[in-house]
C-alpha cells in the first residue's frame, strides 16, 4: 500500500505572529518556518505503517514555493521515501490544494492519504475532508488511533464529547489529531540519507488546477488586546475581587 502525506510549510508554532501595519497579512519575511505540526504527526503515522509492514511506500507532497522543498526534506529525513513538490508562489486555498492532491492521487493511486487536521497558519481544517470529497473516498477526521486491516481502516476519532470509532473502506483520507502519535526527531544519518531521496517537481497548472482564489482577503488586523497583568496578594483578596469587583461568583 502506498501512503500519500501532504506537508505544509508554515510559520513555526513558537514564533509570535506580527500583523503587517498595512493590514495586508502577517509578516513572513525573516521568520522561522517549519512543517505544520499536524503534518509531522501524519508523516510519523505513515512511516510507522511502513515499519510495521502495512505500507510499502510513503510519499510526501508539499504545495508551495521552492523553499517548501525543505519541508519535504524534513519528511524524507523522518522516513518518507520520496517527495513531490507542487511549485507555486500563490497562496493556494484549501479547495485548490485538495484539487492538486486529487490529481496526484489519481496518478499515484495511494490507498491512504494522511492529512493534518488543520494547518496552524490559516486554521481552516478543510483540506482532508475536501480531498476525500473530490476523490469520492471515505474520510476519517481527527484520528487518534488508525488500524489498517485488509481493505478497511478502523479509526478512533476525537469528537466534542469524547471518542468515536468508525470503519472506513480503503482508499480513504485520514486527518490526524494531536494524540495519534509523537513524531520522532530525524537522526543525523537520516538527514544525510534524505538528501539523496528523489523529489519530483510539478505545478498546479501541470495538474490542471486553477489557482484563482475564491476568497479575497480585504484586511488582516490585530485582535483587540486584552488588558491583563493585575495580581492579587492572596486567596482572600481574589475571592473578594471576584465577588465584589468582577461580580462573577
Amino acid at each position: 500500500m502506498k501512503v500519500l502525506v501532504p506537508v505544509k510549510r508554515v510559520i513555526d508554532y513558537n514564533v509570535k505572529i506580527r500583523v503587517k501595519p498595512d493590514g495586508s497579512g502577517v509578516e513572513t519575511q525573516n521568520v522561522k518556518m517549519s512543517m505544520n505540526p499536524f503534518d509531522e504527526i501524519s508523516i510519523e503515522e505513515a512511516v510507522r505503517m511502513k515499519e510495521a509492514g502495512v505500507a510499502e511506500e510513503v510519499i510526501a507532497v508539499s504545495i508551495g514555493p521552492q523553499q517548501a522543498q525543505e519541508t519535504i526534506r524534513t519528511a524524507l529525513a523522518m522516513g518518507a521515501d520520496r517527495g513531490i513538490l507542487v511549485k507555486t508562489d500563490a497562496n493556494l486555498e484549501p479547495l485548490a490544494v485538495a484539487k492538486c492532491l486529487k490529481a496526484l492521487a489519481d496518478k499515484e493511486q495511494p490507498q491512504l492519504i494522511i492529512v493534518g487536521k488543520q494547518a496552524i497558519d490559516d486554521d481552516s481544517n478543510q483540506t482532508g475532508q475536501m480531498t476525500a470529497a473530490l476523490l469520492g473516498w471515505a474520510q476519517a477526521t481527527f484520528a487518534s488511533v488508525v488500524k489498517v486491516d485488509g481493505g478497511n481502516a478502523q479509526v478512533t476519532r476525537e469528537v466534542d464529547g469524547g471518542l468515536e470509532t468508525i470503519t472506513v473502506t480503503l482508499p480513504a483520507v485520514v486527518t490526524s489529531d494531536l494524540r495519534l502519535n509523537e513524531p520522532r526527531y530525524a537522526s543525523l544519518p537520516n538527514i544525510m540519507k534524505a538528501k539523496k531521496k528523489p523529489i519530483d517537481e510539478t505545478s498546479p497548472a501541470d495538474l490542471g488546477v486553477d489557482e484563482t482564489p475564491r476568497l479575497e482577503v480585504l484586511t488582516v488586523a490585530e485582535p483587540p488586546k486584552r488588558e491583563g497583568g493585575a495580581k492579587v496578594e492572596d486567596v482572600a483578596q481574589l475571592v473578594d475581587k471576584l465577588m465584589n469587583e468582577a461580580k462573577v461568583i
Binding site: Y13, Q129, L163, V239
Partner: protein
C-alpha cells in the same frame, strides 16, 4: 434567497451551537431555514421548528443519518444547497467534519469559524490561533460557513413556529460505518456551555490531582477543562482540551490553574470575560491575559480558594 443552517443533534436534542449558527444566519438574511437529519428525527425537527428566527425546517429522516457520518450528510447538504445563498453550521467536530466535504462537492471554498458577519459576502475569521483577524470576501455563488459559537449569542430555543417539510434522503454511500462512541460522563456542565470553567495544566502533575479542581468546580457549578499539555500527559481525556485545536470557550469566569499560557491555549480562552490565573511561576505568560493573577503553589491555593468560597457563600 434564504439561508440554511445545518442542525446537529445529540441525545439531548439540537445542540446549542446550532442556535448560535441561527443567530449568525439571521445577520445575513431574515429568512432562515434549518436542516435536521437523523433516524426517527421528528422530535428534533419539532424542536428546530420552535427556535426563534427559524421559518422553515427541512427534515431528512433516514437511518443513514443516525450517526452523522460525513459522507452521507455532505451528499444531502449538496442536494439541498442549490436553493440557498448560504449554508451554515456550528464549528463543532460534526460541523468541521461535514461542511468542508459538502463545500468541495459544490466546488465552494468554505469560510471556517467566522466570528462576525460584515455583509452577505464578507466575514471575519481568526487565523494564526486568533493572533490575527482576517476579513474575507467570498466570490462563490453559495457560501458554506462554519460558525464559531462563542462569537454569536444562541437564538432562543422557544418562540418560533416554523413549518416542517420532508426532504428526500441522499442515501447511504456505504463508505464508512459507525462502530461506537465513548463519551466522557460528567455531571458538570459541558465546557462550551459553562458559565464558569476551572482548567488545569501540566502543573497539576497527575490526573488524580485534578480532584482539587473538581471540588472547586462543583462549588462554583463550573465545568472542568485542561490545557493540551495536561491532555497529552494523559491526565484527562481529549474532550477536556481548551485551545486552538481543542475547544474554544468564552465563559464569564475562566480559572487557569497550573497553566503556563502557550499561544495555542490562549487562543481557546482569551475571550473569556474574567480570567484568573494561579501559577507558581510569576513569569508565566498566562498572567499577561489574567485579570487576577495569583502567584503561588496551586496545591495550597486551590483548596484554600474552595473553602474560602464556601465560607463566604454560606455567610451571605
Amino acid at each position: 434567497m434564504s439561508v440554511l443552517v445545518l442542525a446537529e443533534t445529540d441525545a439531548n436534542g439540537i445542540v446549542p451551537q446550532s442556535r448560535n449558527a441561527v443567530t449568525a444566519a439571521l445577520a445575513i438574511d431574515s429568512d432562515v431555514h434549518m436542516l435536521v437529519t437523523g433516524s426517527d428525527c421528528s422530535s428534533h425537527a419539532e424542536a428546530a421548528s420552535k427556535i426563534a428566527g427559524v421559518s422553515k425546517v427541512l427534515k431528512a429522516d433516514d437511518a443513514a443519518y443516525s450517526n452523522g457520518l460525513a459522507e452521507n450528510v455532505a451528499n444531502l447538504v449538496k442536494n439541498v444547497a442549490a436553493s440557498y445563498s448560504h449554508v451554515l453550521v456550528g464549528a463543532t467536530s460534526f460541523g468541521k467534519n461535514v461542511m468542508p466535504r459538502a463545500s468541495a462537492l459544490l466546488d465552494v471554498q468554505q469560510i471556517s469559524e467566522i466570528t462576525d458577519v460584515i455583509d452577505a459576502d464578507t466575514f471575519v475569521r481568526p487565523i494564526y490561533a486568533g493572533n490575527a483577524l482576517a476579513t474575507v470576501k467570498s466570490s462563490d455563488a453559495i457560501k458554506l460557513i462554519t460558525v464559531r459559537a462563542t462569537a454569536f449569542d444562541a437564538a432562543a430555543s422557544e418562540g418560533g413556529s416554523a413549518s416542517v417539510e420532508d426532504v428526500a434522503s441522499a442515501g447511504d454511500t456505504g463508505l464508512s460505518v459507525f462502530n461506537g462512541r465513548e463519551l466522557t460522563k460528567s455531571e458538570r456542565p459541558e465546557l462550551t456551555q459553562a458559565g464558569i470553567i476551572v482548567s488545569g495544566g501540566r502543573g497539576m502533575g497527575s490526573g488524580e490531582n485534578f480532584a482539587i479542581l473538581e471540588e472547586l468546580a462543583d462549588k462554583l457549578g463550573a465545568a472542568v477543562g485542561a490545557s493540551r499539555a495536561a491532555v497529552d500527559a494523559g491526565f484527562v481525556p481529549n474532550d477536556y482540551q481548551v485551545g486552538q485545536t481543542g475547544k474554544v470557550v468564552a465563559p464569564e469566569l475562566y480559572i487557569a490553574v497550573g497553566i503556563s499560557g502557550a499561544i495555542q491555549h490562549l487562543a481557546g480562552m482569551k475571550d473569556s470575560k474574567v480570567i484568573v490565573a494561579i501559577n507558581k511561576d510569576e513569569e508565566a505568560p498566562i498572567f499577561s491575559v489574567a485579570d487576577y493573577g495569583l502567584v503561588g503553589d496551586l496545591f495550597k491555593s486551590v483548596p484554600e480558594l474552595t473553602s474560602e468560597i464556601e465560607t463566604r457563600k454560606s455567610a451571605s
